[in-house]
């Protein structure tokens, strides 16, 4: 709306040669532990961006705080590494201000479901055209291994919860559905091709697309290396009826991969463009507003 972002996507696409996945990577070296699942997400996302031929300057990836939330700095697109739990509001504000951008929010299960849980609910309801990737490792990696909302209630490897949390697990897909999300998928960091397909579908979905990515924490949840064996294609198939999806997702084992739910509903349009029939300039409109208070 202000500033020098006036060029159209077409102009920009024409001006750049087709890019490869690595062109979406920055030179910053990830701080992640060797073997961390988040590497897989980074790889899948750069592939997705290349596949969709999105000009890097038209893409913004924003995040909170956590190992997973370090993602933006490793990409050669516009990025914002915000504060813990607030990736979605950042994304919402950016998208509302700059609807033409492809805006992706990313982070971890702690960031998104614990401290950020409220924004998750309301972003699902809002159905703004955003993609939200949660790299779920069922633990707080960055702070050295505490239970997250998706952790099993009897996992007692954290000294903070020596007997486990005793709390029911947070069911990301079920909550997203109940909150009104229009696209819900589950991917696996160890399945880059499948994940790339899901991410591409999520970005192309008009509306809020939530992708839960099972992304093992090598360091604090070594047992998650078994996910490789346990994940399976989703048996539900995308259920287009919310009530049916609700039932199926409730019975889901949490390891089924694929598109779990999709629905085409109106996308949230923040504000309403000024009346097209109204031919006033911006300055005239502002003057008219000023005049309301003058006499």
């Amino acid at each position: 709306m202000t500033a020098a972002h006036g060029r159209s996507t077409e102009q920009l696409k024409a001006s750049i040669p087709s890019l490869r996945a690595k062109d979406y990577k920055s030179d910053v070296k990830p701080v992640w532990c060797p073997g961390c699942g988040h590497f897989g997400v980074l790889a899948a996302l750069t592939k997705t961006l290349a596949y969709l031929e999105l000009p890097p300057e038209q893409v913004a990836v924003v995040s909170g705080i956590g190992c997973s939330s370090r993602l933006p700095a490793y990409l050669a697109v516009h990025g914002f590494h915000g504060v813990h739990g607030r990736a979605l509001p950042l994304a919402t504000g950016l998208k509302a201000a700059r609807p033409e951008l492809t805006v992706i929010a990313a982070g971890g299960d702690g960031d998104g479901f614990s401290i950020g849980g409220n924004h998750f609910l309301h972003a699902c309801r809002r159905n703004q055209d955003l993609t939200y990737i949660v790299m779920d490792n069922e633990v707080y990696g960055m702070t050295k291994g505490q239970a997250s909302p998706t952790t099993q209630p009897d996992w007692c490897r954290s000294k903070l919860t020596p007997h486990g949390t005793g709390m029911r697990r947070f069911q990301p897909a079920a909550i997203a559905l109940a909150a009104g999300a229009s696209f819900i998928a589950r991917g696996f960091a160890g399945d880059p091709n499948g994940l790339t397909r899901l991410l591409a579908a999520a970005i192309e979905h008009p509306g809020f697309a939530f992708v839960q990515v099972l992304s093992p924490c090598r360091t604090f949840r070594p047992e998650q290396q078994e996910w490789k064996q346990l994940v399976h294609a989703c048996e539900l198939g995308p259920a287009h009826d919310a009530a049916r999806a609700a039932e199926l997702i409730q019975r889901d084992d949490g390891l089924g991969l694929g598109l779990l739910f999709e629905q085409k509903i109106p996308v949230y349009a923040a504000g309403v463009a000024a009346d097209a029939a109204d031919t006033l300039t911006a300055a005239e409109r502002l003057a008219a507003i000023e005049a309301e208070h003058c006499r």
């Binding site: 709306m1 972002h5 700095a73 990025g79 700059r98 951008l101 208070h293």
Partner: protein
């Protein structure tokens, strides 16, 4: 005072810190209308304010309500006169009580004395002890009876007529005020109201008039009819704000309600967020995208936003947060005014997080200060907190318009060349202002970060990077030339004779100006300094302005927050004194006069 000197000559350009004359000599009059829920006391006040405007006068309308959510007793407190009115008076000249429901709740806000006149309707019961036992003269007028005689008549309209007559407002102005205020209610309502006003006007005893009837001037200069929340919204639009995210809270909500439809007309957006954590981060997102953005809140919301404001500071993302202050701490007194969020605004961010703090000096100045804050935030790539308060935000004035500043919204500091190296978004520069790109600009991608970072934005915990970025973020604020806007300064006739400076900020400026006028009239040469820019404090300029005068720091907080802040910055002489009182009652000019006079007396004969 946003460039509208009381002389009445509209002045173009930004407000200055120059000299301003004393207000006119016909002192303003205070008229209160009170009544139970549904009695229409507030409507009566609005009509009277419109009548004041129609008569070519200036006015200020405050409101007060009991604890009921809706429909409880309420009071409209109008003060008006031939010069701009910027504060509540010391006393009430005329009270029209539609009834006496829970009137004692307003007793503190409507100080009556032997010169006060009270209109009471015998049909509505007898005045409570707090009124009956006082010195005020009581006059019975049958508001209800008179209204009953007219089709669709309402007692409050009779009261408008009677009070208007006694206050010296012309009948035409009152009728005009009713027509404007009630226009949306249909012709029949207007006609009935006008009939009642006429009746009330005739019921008032001309011998008891408190002012000679004013005759409306042939031509009335352009006036603003606005409250501080609307003015703040207007300032935001002027400065280019096109995205607002916010969560409702008293007394800031009206700013948002005013902005929502108007932003839309300008192609912008207002988004009601799920909470304040969301709203502040949403505006950071918008600003990162290059679209100026603002949020408005009050104390509790400000507390919740502090983490986000710190992110804006560290990531150098320009945002504007307007805090319409109310009584604190905690939920406090949501409907009443206080200036006690100053500390939180100045110091509330964890870590070393220099940012801008400004305060609007009056209702009209809300427009100027918010616009200036927005420009500064963008020029300096930082967060600006603008302090307003309930007394500005929810009071309606008829006054002089705030001029539109000449400066457009500052252009982003654009990188001169994209280069091939990674974009050095956080490069250290001479003025401390780093180049900033926005998404959409090829080759200039970077990751904004609240983690400490090197010049490219990559996270760094190196001491040198930390020092560089801390120095830079401080330096850019200190090195900026803020021009004359930092304060409004008024001088007495003989500036060289000044013995006392009244130093204040924000909304207390109105009462300080009036106190100064009275002190000057009493032969005391006093200066006033009202700070608009609180952080970074223009310490040198302030100390220069104070000279070697005695200083009384005036503010509306229990903890004397401004006083302590100025000491923290070593900007006050050791002999400076503090006049600090908490809300909910407005600081009145008389209190300031008394404190100032005591100080002058105490030091007569040398410091």
């Amino acid at each position: 005072m946003s460039g509208s000197p009381m002389s009445g000559t509209p002045r173009s350009g930004a407000p200055t810190s120059g000299t301003r004359p004393d207000p006119g000599d016909s002192p303003p009059l205070t008229v209160a209308v009170t009544g139970a829920g549904g009695s229409g006391a507030v409507t009566a006040g609005l009509i009277l304010l419109e009548a004041v405007a129609a008569a070519g006068l200036f006015g200020l309308l405050r409101r007060s309500a009991g604890p009921q959510i809706r429909g409880g007793e309420s009071a409209a407190l109008l003060r008006f006169g031939p010069a701009p009115v910027h504060c509540a008076g010391d006393r009430c000249d005329l009270l029209a009580a539609l009834d006496w429901a829970n009137h004692e709740r307003f007793a503190e806000e409507i100080p009556l004395d032997a010169d006060s006149l009270v209109l009471t309707d015998p049909a509505a019961g007898t005045p409570p002890a707090v009124v009956a036992a006082g010195d005020a003269a009581l006059r019975e007028i049958g508001f209800a009876d008179s209204a009953r005689e007219r089709a669709g008549g309402r007692p409050n309209m009779v009261a408008v007529g009677a009070a208007g007559a006694l206050a010296g407002l012309p009948l035409d102005a009152l009728l005009d005020g009713a027509a404007r205020t009630l226009a949306g209610k249909g012709e029949a309502v207007v006609a009935a109201a006008r009939a009642c006003i006429r009746a009330g006007f005739d019921l008032a005893d001309p011998a008891e008039r408190l002012r000679k009837p004013a005759s409306a001037p042939a031509e009335i200069p352009q006036r603003w009819h606005i409250n501080g929340n609307e003015a703040a919204g207007l300032g935001a639009l002027r400065a280019g704000v096109r995205f607002v995210a916010a969560y409702p809270i008293t007394p800031a909500s009206e700013m948002l309600e005013w902005l929502a439809p108007r932003l839309e007309r300008l192609g912008g957006t207002l988004l009601q967020a799920e909470d304040e954590l969301a709203s502040v981060n949403m505006i950071i997102g918008s600003a990162f995208g290059g679209v100026p953005a603002l949020t408005a809140t009050s104390g509790p919301g400000l507390s919740l936003m502090l983490e986000g404001i710190g992110l804006a500071v560290a990531s150098e993302t320009p945002i504007v947060v307007v805090d319409v202050m109310r009584g604190g701490p905690s939920t406090g007194i949501p409907t009443k005014s206080e200036q006690s969020d100053l500390n939180a605004a100045l110091y509330g961010l964890h870590g070393d997080a220099p940012h801008l703090v400004l305060a609007a000096l009056d209702i009209g100045d809300c427009a100027h200060t918010v616009a200036w804050a927005t420009r500064l935030a963008w020029q300096l790539q930082t967060a600006a907190i603008v302090l307003s308060d309930q007394s500005l935000g929810q009071s309606r004035m008829v006054g002089e318009p705030a001029p539109v500043a000449e400066e457009p919204l500052a252009a982003l500091q654009h990188p001169t060349a994209a280069g091939d190296a990674p974009f050095r978004r956080y490069a250290v520069t001479a003025d401390g202002i780093s180049p900033m790109s926005v998404p959409g600009e090829p080759g200039l991608a970077y990751t904004a970060d609240g983690l400490e970072h090197d010049p490219t934005g990559a996270p760094s915990s190196r001491a040198a990077d930390h020092a560089d970025q801390l120095d830079k973020r401080r330096h850019k604020l200190l090195a900026h030339d803020y021009g004359p806007h930092w304060a409004e300064i008024t001088e007495p006739a003989d500036p060289d004779a000044v013995a006392l400076t009244l130093l204040t900020f924000g909304a207390c400026r109105g009462a300080v100006l009036e106190a100064a006028a009275r002190l000057r009239a009493g032969g005391h040469a006093v200066r006033t300094v009202a700070l608009r820019l609180l952080a970074p404090l223009r310490r040198r300029a302030l100390m220069h302005a104070l000279g070697d005068t005695r200083v009384l720091v005036v503010e509306q907080s229990h903890g004397a927050q401004l006083f302590h802040y100025l000491h923290a910055e070593q900007a006050l002489p050791a002999h400076a004194r503090s006049l600090a009182r908490a809300g909910p009652l407005p600081l009145r000019p008389g209190e300031i006069v008394d404190a100032a006079a005591a100080l002058i007396d105490a030091h007569r004969g040398g410091p």
